[in-house]
């Protein structure tokens, strides 16, 4: 296709790094992993306190 004289040829900018990860919304993932983490902590605390109560 012929280029119009007032429109320069557009090429992707190579020197600017775009990190797609930073733009993703990972809030749900963060909440999910922290939920699992707190469940693990709760289980650990309950099992360890059961052990201590029987010492």
């Amino acid at each position: 296709m012929a280029q119009l004289p007032h429109q320069p040829n557009r090429r992707p900018v190579a020197n600017k790094k775009i990190n797609p990860e930073e733009n993703q919304n990972l809030k749900g993932t963060l909440v999910a992993v922290f939920t699992v983490g707190f469940i693990i902590i709760a289980m650990w605390v309950s099992v360890y306190s059961l052990f201590l109560s029987r010492v």
């Binding site: 990860e21 993703q24 992993v33 922290f34 693990i40 902590i41 650990w44 360890y48 010492v55």
Partner: protein, 155 residues
Amino acid sequence: MHFHRYEKYWLIFGLCTLVVFLTIVGVNAFSGGHQPPTGMMTLDPTKVDQTPPFDQPGLKKVDDNTYEANLIAMAFGYNPSKIEVPVGAKVIFNVTSKDVVHSFTIPGTNVNMMITPGHVNTSEFSFDKPGSYLVLCNEYCGSGHHMMQMTIEVK
């Protein structure tokens, strides 16, 4: 290496919990003497009846409030099958097996150890409440495994 901001939060959180868990367990292991059942003594499993202290299995008084219970586990029972200790006594269990792998478990307590032939496993417990304590084998040891038990009478 690039990490997402949230991934950094999660890694720091994970590392901190690991440090906290290990510190609590480590400090209690030394200050409270918490350790898994352990024993270094070995013996010939075919000569259990001739090897002291298992040539005279049973309860032995160590001092005022401490007893040593030298017990033999076998298919499908313990020798002796009943011991009596006074309330408040601390009992050190030394248990070995004559045949296959058994266990020595007092439900509701922290006494739960594997009994391997050729080895003596040791655990201790203070019986502060009177009653009849059941001892069970929780390692499948054969067709009579479910019958394998003994009792500890605390009076």
